[in-house]
């Protein structure tokens, strides 16, 4: 499903102080089936953007279209939105609340019209995708899980609904390397099957390895938008924005500064390794 934000303005009431404007005439188009990463300094509006796209907040001006339909228009059937857009928040412990993992993962399917057997099948599917053994985890209380396990259960709960658009706010924070890799592979797999995937993250390495389009935001504006290779090709600009480039990119830059000839568009581990091999063998 496609997402279109047209001329959005959005601000938060500031209490006694002035209100804070997050967006003023902000537009963004995301086509059906894209795999997108969003980076930006704390406070640039990333989380607000996700909330707008998921219809959790309404803009004060402009429109949010999902599949061409204005989701904030009177008469729009919001149940479509809830089924088609899944969002995993920054702190998964905030979205776990049921007494068992099974109930928690099944919660989003409550009014889906699925039979009990179908719901159970979905729960097993989602938990297995997130690397759990259904039998071992299903009766555990979410509160007894470790930080990384909570995050994976929260993701399973959103996957179970099989939304067309998946949004993740900082999904790999607190995950160990194997779970990090597994999550990114899963996101890529769901994307290949047609899901539009949007990942907000500070982790340049993870975004370099996964997404096809990288959007960099600063103070409510899009300041860079392109392939990860093109965005990370400008480390100086990224530094100005207080953001990092991927580690392979950073190493390639350090080598280039030392006079070692190296391709300027390296951003992934395998690319760096291949380049080093060819470079070192040639000598």
């Amino acid at each position: 499903m496609s997402i279109e934000l047209n001329h959005i303005s959005c601000s938060y009431p500031g209490g006694a102080q002035e209100s804070v404007t997050v967006f003023d005439d902000f537009s963004l188009h995301i086509a059906d089936g894209e795999f997108i990463g969003i980076m930006g300094h704390t406070g640039c509006g990333k989380t607000t953007l996700l909330q707008l796209m998921a219809g959790l907040i309404a803009p004060s001006g402009g429109e949010v279209l999902i599949n061409g339909e204005d989701i904030n228009k009177a008469g729009y059937d919001r149940s479509i939105l809830r089924r088609s857009v899944g969002i995993v928040f920054q702190y998964p412990e905030y979205q776990l609340f049921e007494t068992t993992v099974e109930k928690d993962v099944a919660f989003g399917l409550k009014h889906s019209g699925l039979s009990r057997a179908e719901v159970r099948e979905r729960v097993i599917w989602a938990l297995t995708l997130m690397g759990f053994s259904y039998e071992n985890i299903r009766t555990r209380s979410p509160l007894t899980l470790s930080g990384g396990e909570k995050r994976r259960v929260a993701i399973a709960g959103v996957l179970a609904v099989k939304p067309d658009i998946l949004m993740f706010d900082e999904p790999i924070a607190g995950l160990d390397p194997q779970n990090r890799t597994a999550f990114l592979e899963l996101a890529a797999q769901l994307n290949r099957q047609g899901t539009t995937v949007i990942i907000v993250s500070h982790n340049a390495d993870a975004l370099a390895e996964s997404v096809c389009r990288l959007i960099v935001m600063d103070r409510g504006r899009t300041v860079m938008d392109g392939t990860p290779n093109s965005v990370f090709a400008d480390p100086v600009r990224m530094q100005e924005l207080h953001l990092g480039v991927s580690t392979p990119r950073a190493i390639a830059d350090m080598l280039a500064k030392r006079g070692i000839p190296i391709a300027p568009d390296i951003i992934r581990y395998e690319e760096l390794l291949l380049e080093l091999r060819m470079n070192l063998k040639a000598r």
Binding site: H41, T42, G43, Q90, Y91, T139, R140, S141, T144, L145, S146, G147, G148, E149, R152, E170, A173, G174, L175, D176, P177, Q178, N179, H202, A204, H242, L243, G244, T247, P248, A250, I251, M254, L255, R258, I260, Y269, L272, L273, L276, R277, L280, K281, R283
Partner: protein
């Protein structure tokens, strides 16, 4: 001298009528003034372990002495928490006040530090983390890195011997991470605090005096960052991957390209590669 000394620490809880063992007779010793980094896969017991150090979790079995205090003794619990402070992952839910300086003073008031001493202690703590000038700000108006440094100041105001950091950089952007790590380095090097830091960023472990590798509820290994981080088999067994420069070293090695030594940091890797030139 030992700052934290634990033997046979066991922790289990019941889930669905089955006993889930998290720590299995774990032994650990952390020296006074040491910067210890704890690594381990999700669910390996890292957080459970460090929560014993200031009695957030009561000791079920084993022995644990922290700064000379018996962590099993319930009567010493408040003294223990004063000498052993802790900062958590989420920068947003550690604040009790809407003003930075009041938030930092909260612990001091609880411990009935004389009123006239409080402003000085608060100022000193904020200076340590590079947050002087933010006294009257609302914590919620700060960036993630600034919030974590204010949380750290709240702990430092109590002048603890030990500071425990449970994934404090996980939610931060690169700049925020740098700010927090710089504060941590300063309180280790200048203030001589014993620091115990849990992290999933393996490159942060390079900063440690010693790395403690947890797996299956026991200490799998401990040693210098070089000893632990350059051993891919050991890390793999614990469900972790080595830092990128170490990976590069071994992947080049496989194709017959040998660097003189195993680089731990990006800078070391670049040096090694330049020497091949």
């Amino acid at each position: 001298m030992c700052m934290i000394s634990g033997t046979g620490i066991r922790f289990a809880y019941e889930a669905d009528g089955r006993l889930k063992r998290v720590l299995r007779d774990l032994d650990i010793q952390i020296q006074r003034g040491e910067f210890a980094v704890v690594l381990g896969a999700n669910g390996s017991g890292k957080s459970t372990l460090v929560k014993h150090f200031n009695a957030l979790l009561p000791l079920q079995k084993g022995e644990l002495t922290v700064a000379g205090i018996n962590a099993a003794g319930r009567s010493d619990i408040w003294r223990l928490r004063r000498v052993c402070g802790m900062v958590f992952q989420n920068p947003d839910n550690q604040f009790v006040s809407s003003v930075v300086e009041e938030d930092v003073a909260f612990g001091l008031e609880n411990y009935e530090v004389p009123r006239e001493q409080i402003p000085d202690r608060v100022r000193k703590a904020l200076r340590l983390v590079g947050m002087e000038g933010y006294e009257n700000r609302s914590p919620h108006s700060l960036s993630g890195g600034q919030k974590q440094r204010v949380a750290l100041a709240g702990v430092l105001a109590l002048e603890p011997d030990i500071v425990i950091l449970d994934e404090v950089t996980a939610m931060l952007d690169p700049q925020g991470r740098q700010e927090v790590l710089e504060s941590v380095r300063r309180l280790h090097e200048q203030e001589k605090k014993t620091v115990v830091m849990i992290t999933h960023y393996i490159e942060e472990a390079v900063l440690a005096d010693r790395v403690f590798l947890l797996g299956d509820g026991v200490l799998q290994a401990c040693g210098t960052p070089r000893e632990i981080l350059t051993d891919p088999q050991l890390l793999d067994k614990a469900g972790l991957t080595p830092p990128l420069p170490v990976k590069i070293y071994y992947d080049l090695y496989k194709t017959g390209i040998r660097l003189d030594r195993i680089p731990l940091t990006n800078e070391e890797l670049v040096e090694e590669l330049c020497q091949l030139n």
